[in-house]
């Protein structure tokens, strides 16, 4: 009797009868790929990075049978006669529309509103909203440089304040993930839920967080970045020497590799759906994959949390 009772107690919480499964959600991807021009330190690989990430996620969503919506913002010259465009990437192809702000002073608000309106539905609980950014990060603030224009021979650029971007992403009811590949991108890592291995004092300082009134952990929001808050992010990792490593950012190359991207054809791979793809796996892969020489200059960072976001899984219960 005692043995039967023990078996029941052990198995009960792991049984779906007691904890029913949630339905699988939808993937929303908002991707930025900005290469700028020579006067603004042109970046060689960011547009291909963005194209790679959108292609990889599109293939994964199809492989794992998930619905998806992908919206991209880029300064890739696609013959629209304008520097900036918003793209809506669907199974049928890419719908492009010119982004031309009415009020350059408030271009950040206008852009966020335009991008948000480009999604046909709103992310809900159970969905995953992913922001990917490849472009310049402003020195000192890490703010994405999202707009530029030349006036009287002088280049003016506008940033999207990082606080505003984080608030926008994390305002969604869904789980959220920010993948930031830019200089000083570590600025987006804030409010670690647990301590850093190199900072055990913080870990124990948080021990009685409820008693000390510290805000409880945010479970739904995840952030990984190419570099720490005071580091640059590099356009390629010359020490890797593998196919595609010269065409992609050092960090994004590792992200794409983890996502199963095919660098030879520069596209996501269809048909493979037997892996569980998680945020912690993506971070670990980037940390392990970037060459040791590059890691002296750019060390990937992440919001430290004991939780993990499962992006794709063969069995969504795992």
């Amino acid at each position: 009797m005692l043995i039967l009772l023990s078996v029941f107690i052990i198995l009960a919480p792991s049984c779906d009868f007691f904890t029913p499964s949630d339905d699988d959600g939808k993937i929303y991807l908002l991707a930025f790929g900005l290469e700028y021009n020579e006067k603004l330190n042109k970046l060689e690989n960011t547009v291909l990075d963005m194209r790679g990430v959108t292609s990889a996620f599109e293939a994964l969503a199809k492989n794992y049978g998930k619905d998806y919506e992908i919206v991209a913002y880029t300064d890739d010259d696609v013959g629209l006669g304008s520097t900036f465009s918003i793209e809506r990437i669907t199974t049928g192809g890419i719908d492009r529309e010119v982004f031309s702000p009415m009020d350059v002073e408030n271009v950040d608000d206008e852009l966020l509103a335009a991008l948000d309106a480009s999604f046909s539905t709103t992310p809900m609980e159970g969905d995953i909203f992913i922001l990917y950014y490849a472009g310049h990060g402003e020195d000192g603030t890490g703010a994405p440089v999202i707009y530029y224009e030349e006036n009287d021979g002088k280049m003016n650029y506008k940033t999207l304040p990082l606080r505003k971007l984080i608030d926008y992403v994390q305002s969604h009811n869904s789980n959220t993930l920010m993948i930031m590949d830019s200089c000083y991108s570590g600025m987006a890592v804030e409010e670690d839920e647990i301590g850093d291995l190199l900072d055990p004092i913080t870990a124990f300082g948080n021990l009685f967080s409820e008693i000390t009134g510290k805000e409880n952990a945010k479970f739904k929001d995840f952030v990984i970045t190419a570099a720490h808050y005071n580091q640059l992010s590099y356009d390629s990792d010359p020490y890797i020497g593998k196919d595609g490593s010269d065409r992609h950012g050092a960090f994004t190359y590792q992200v794409l590799k983890y996502l199963g991207y095919d660098f030879e054809s520069e596209s996501g791979v269809y048909g493979n759906n037997n892996r569980t793809i998680t945020v912690s796996g993506m971070y670990e892969s980037a940390l392990d994959g970037i060459s040791s020489q590059m890691k002296l200059m750019m060390m990937p960072d992440a919001r430290k949390t004991r939780y993990d976001l499962v992006l794709f899984s063969p069995n969504f219960k795992n």
Binding site: S280, R306, D308, N318
Partner: protein, 178 residues
């Protein structure tokens, strides 16, 4: 901290002459448990935990009492998902002060409390935690026992509950008989 550790050791050593029947024993315990996480805003599913506890210097006194400082190392698999989120795999370690009462030759119970850390290898993060545990011991022989531990730990705003079964083997014994 060093002062407290010294006082604790001093207490353990001085207990030997205070009680007329003293001795020591060493045990090693392997256990399999299920760990559930009770987070403020959500609840993860349970996950298997496997661990080893080394209790190399347990002080026995007054025939029925055992006091010790066991060290525990365990590994917890990622929990099954609740929605899109799950608890990451992690290694947990704990140092506790344990007290065991021998009801009779066949049945003991123990309680313990202490501190520990969880190390999340993928994200390179650690969580400090306090640990409390009670366990029932069934001893079919004097060197082997089946244990049924139930453990509660707390760190950074989150409670964990673990329970399962363990097998404890006596690897050294001197002084008072079990």
């Amino acid at each position: 901290m060093r002062k407290k550790a010294f006082l604790l050791l001093f207490l353990l050593i001085t207990l030997m002459p205070v009680f007329p029947k003293t001795g020591y024993e060493a045990t090693i315990r392997g256990e399999g448990m299920f760990t559930s996480v009770f987070a403020p805003a959500d609840q993860m599913r349970s996950s298997p935990t496997f661990g080893v506890e080394l209790d190399v210097l347990a002080l026995k006194f007054a025939e029925r009492h055992v006091l010790s400082l066991p060290v525990y190392v365990g590994y917890t698999y990622p929990t099954r998902r609740n929605g899109n989120v799950r608890l990451q795999e992690h290694v947990d370690m704990a140092l506790t002060l344990s007290y065991r009462y021998k009801v009779n030759d066949f049945f003991h119970f123990s309680i313990k409390g202490g501190f520990g850390i969880d190390y999340y290898s993928a994200i390179k993060g650690i969580v400090g935690k306090v640990v409390g545990e009670c366990a029932l011991w069934f001893l079919p022989t004097d060197w082997l026992s089946f244990t049924f531990p139930a453990r509660v730990s707390y760190g950074s705003g989150v409670y964990y509950l673990s329970y399962g079964v363990g097998l404890s083997v006596l690897i050294g014994n001197k002084g008072v008989e079990n």
